[in-house]
């Protein structure tokens, strides 16, 4: 098999929207009208910027209360972490595990994975192409499931309105946490996996 040729070397770009291969000199894709770029514009800078925002907002998302439970005996605030601990101690292991995975494990792993991909794209860390591709796919697919805790808060706020007995309202961390998930999703979308292969081509 002859060695492959690469689109960018001959000034061709596949459209981000429709996938059609066209000369980047055209400016816009002839099929769908989207702008053509050899690589996603400012891919690394944008990925890191969104990631920085996500890391910054992760602090209030974890430390502020995600929901407030008020009733007879006054109010009680619960953070994401205290919620996990409470359910673990109550013996509701499935709930504790789901919330821990979706709200704590996945966001942290996703942020680390994107940092690793950015480092790999500039050649600071190695890694086989397959492993990096798998990392990229997993971060893309799994990220949105973190939103589950936000929906739990919304559902409980809707259902638990029992007058003076017990009322649940969303806390400030709910919005920060939603923002963390949204920012990491934008971050993953801004990352261009072709950068991983460009690196290997130019070094080999």
């Amino acid at each position: 098999m002859s060695p492959p040729t690469f689109a960018a070397d001959s000034g061709l770009a596949s459209c981000h929207t429709c996938g059609r291969l066209g000369p980047v000199a055209d400016g816009r894709c002839r099929r769908c009208g989207a702008k053509l770029h050899l690589r996603k514009p400012d891919s690394l800078a944008r990925t890191l910027a969104f990631l920085g925002g996500a890391i910054a907002l992760y602090v209030p998302a974890m430390s502020l209360p995600v929901m407030r439970v008020s009733g007879f005996g006054g109010g009680e605030d619960s953070t994401i972490l205290s919620g996990v601990v409470t359910f673990w101690e109550m013996g509701s292991y499935p709930v504790a595990i789901i919330i821990f995975t979706a709200s704590i494990l996945i966001p942290i792993l996703k942020i680390l994975a994107l940092l690793w991909l950015c480092l790999a794209a500039v050649g600071k860390v190695g890694g086989s192409g397959r492993k990096l591709a798998l990392t990229y796919h997993v971060t893309e697919i799994v990220g949105r499931w973190s939103m589950v805790d936000v929906f739990v808060v919304a559902i409980l706020a809707c259902l638990v309105k029992l007058g003076t007995l017990m009322t649940i309202t969303p806390g400030p961390a709910a919005l920060s946490f939603a923002a963390v998930v949204i920012l990491t999703m934008f971050s993953a979308m801004s990352f261009d996996p072709r950068l991983l292969w460009d690196r290997r081509r130019h070094t080999s």
Partner: protein
């Protein structure tokens, strides 16, 4: 139409068209596929595109089903909870309204986008494109709609909402008397139908067919 020419690849405008892998940028000939086959990059092994069986009929059928179930999911509550003399209903809009009433309108807006607007754009868009394509036609604004539905796909989070619903139930547990309603089963059906519709047709096939239909 593909359904009547079983085994034929979907039409490609330029027979010798090349594709570039969107992962490693390697240029290669786009192989014609039989239904059910997939093409992988010769260089890095990533999936290039798939020829989904009976793509247009599947995408159309599932998106019609999803729209009907979506209407039902909005018309009926998912569950009612009775405790301490009060009774609360759960629905997608009711959820967002409760959050807004509790003083977090931005979060309520996000809930509406993720559970109502994005799924609607996604599924409405697939129907708007695929149903006319069965007759080889494209309706006005098809390019714009195709772009919009592609953008909305990652933000359509009804299946995540459903998981959130299950977690909430486990959390509430024995707290109250809970009754399930038609809306809930409709929501489950919406999630299944959306998955069926989006998996029904490959992105490149959709764009190739749109190009062909628009050129007529």
């Amino acid at each position: 139409m593909k359904r009547h020419h079983h085994g034929l690849p979907w039409p490609r405008l330029h027979r010798s068209e090349d594709v570039a892998c969107e992962f490693c940028d390697a240029v290669q000939k786009a192989p014609r596929l039989r239904e059910g086959e997939a093409a992988y990059c010769v260089h890095c092994g990533e999936l290039l595109y798939q020829n989904r069986p009976r793509s247009l009929s599947r995408a159309t059928g599932f998106s019609i089903a999803a729209l009907i179930f979506m209407a039902l999911a909005h018309a009926f509550p998912f569950l009612t909870m009775s405790a301490a003399g009060s009774r609360n209903e759960l629905g997608l809009i009711a959820c967002a309204r409760a959050v807004a009433a509790d003083g977090d309108p931005l979060l309520a807006f996000l809930c509406v986008v993720f559970t109502v607007v994005a799924p609607l754009i996604l599924i409405g868009g697939i129907l708007y494109l695929c149903a006319p394509l069965m007759l080889g036609r494209a309706l006005p604004g098809s390019l714009w709609i195709a772009r919009a539905l592609q953008r909305s796909e990652p933000w359509s989070m009804l299946e995540v909402f459903l998981l959130g619903f299950v977690v909430s139930l486990l959390k509430l547990g024995h707290l109250a008397e809970i009754r399930f309603h038609i809306g809930l089963w409709a929501l489950v059906a919406v999630v299944v139908s959306i998955a069926g519709a989006t998996a029904g047709i490959d992105r490149r096939e959709l764009w190739d067919r749109l190009e062909l239909a628009n050129a007529r």
